[in-house]
């Protein structure tokens, strides 16, 4: 089934099999109007390719740039984005929601 092969976690596995380094971002908690539910995934490889989403476009750029460091160090990170946060405003999560994203390297 197409939706199966297109699931971000299936893509992450295929990337890893192809020898690419992969980071997995997961929405852990949301407050207010968050566009993607808890449990949603964005997967990023060491070239900056990505699939899936954690916010429907608002904060993907920031997560992708953090992913390079997580891939390099192997240390997972908890990222938080919300309107109270100046960085979040910069990356455009102006829809009034707040999300916490767990970012880890696929080991």
């Amino acid at each position: 089934m197409d939706t199966q092969t297109e699931h971000p976690l299936a893509i992450a596995e295929a990337w890893a099999e192809a020898g690419r380094q992969v980071a997995i971002a997961t929405v852990i908690e949301t407050w207010g109007s968050a566009p993607r539910p808890v449990g949603s995934h964005l997967v990023i490889d060491d070239q900056g390719d990505f699939a899936g989403s954690v916010s429907g476009g608002c904060v993907e750029g920031a997560v992708i740039s953090e992913a390079a460091e997580v891939i390099a160090t192997g240390t997972p990170r908890m990222l938080e984005f919300g309107v109270a946060d100046a960085v979040a405003w910069q990356v455009g999560l102006s829809c009034g929601g707040r999300i916490r994203v767990f970012l880890e390297r696929l080991g």
Binding site: M1, T3, Q4, H7, L9, A10, A12, E13, A16, I24, T26, V27, I28, E29, P37, V38, G39, P76, M78, F102, E104, R105, L106, G107
Partner: protein, 227 residues
């Protein structure tokens, strides 16, 4: 998460097996729990809730923050009978997010002209279901009224534990159906799971209204796990 854990999770997803990914948010360590392994797990209670609701969330346990992410198979609907009600039910169910298949061996009924882009199999249900067996995450609606076509998939749906089993037909038709199914060896507890006459009692009259009543009943079973 390591690659072996990711592979195990993806394998469960491909096999339409429910699984929960349990991640330690401090270390990043992760493991996959399938439903048969819940009872022996230290997080059994939280895992049961995750399997039941399908909702992901953080659980605090013994000073650890653990994230439970359930992966439940996407719900499917198998419609037996390429009839008028099916022409309304299939697109409605698809809009509600179900993966829909229509099966009818009568080639005069099962035509793309009547069903457009819907997935349609012009074959006997026994044969058609061999490629995509029924399971707990599948609903079955038997809509032909014809025992030769409806009975076998109804038995298969009850045996597979389909989350919803509905059958079209009046009370009299259903009583005759129950007699046949009991003669075939099904118990009253098993056949008691059949919703018949099909659909919520909203006075539905037209095929589209019966489709609405059926879809609403199906969704109640999906979301509430009604018996």
């Amino acid at each position: 998460m390591d690659r072996a854990t990711l592979s195990a999770l993806n394998a469960a997803r491909r096999a339409r097996m429910a699984a929960v990914l349990v991640s330690d948010l401090d270390s990043g360590a992760a493991r996959v729990v399938t439903e048969d392994a819940v009872a022996d797990d230290p997080l059994a209670e939280a895992l049961r809730a995750a399997f039941a609701s399908g909702k992901a969330g953080v659980v605090a346990t013994a000073g650890q923050r653990v994230f439970l992410n359930p992966h439940l198979p996407p719900a499917r609907l198998v419609i037996i009978g390429a009839v008028h009600i099916s022409q309304a039910l299939a697109p409605m169910a698809r809009q509600a997010g179900l993966d829909v298949t229509i099966i009818d061996p009568r080639t005069a009924f099962a035509t793309p002209a009547r069903f457009g882009a819907e997935r349609l199999i012009a074959d006997w249900p026994e044969d058609a279901l061999q490629d995509a067996p029924l399971d707990r995450w599948t609903a079955l609606a038997a809509l032909t009224h014809d025992p030769k076509i409806d009975d076998a998939p109804l038995v298969a749906a009850l045996r597979a534990g389909c989350f919803y089993v509905g059958a079209l037909g009046s009370r009299k038709t259903h009583a005759a159906r129950l007699d046949r199914l009991h003669a075939a060896g099904l118990t009253g507890a098993e056949t008691g799971r059949i919703c018949a006459p099909i659909g919520l009692d909203i006075g539905a009259a037209s095929p589209a209204e019966i489709a609405v009543a059926t879809l609403a009943q199906l969704i109640a079973h999906l979301r509430r796990r009604a018996p």
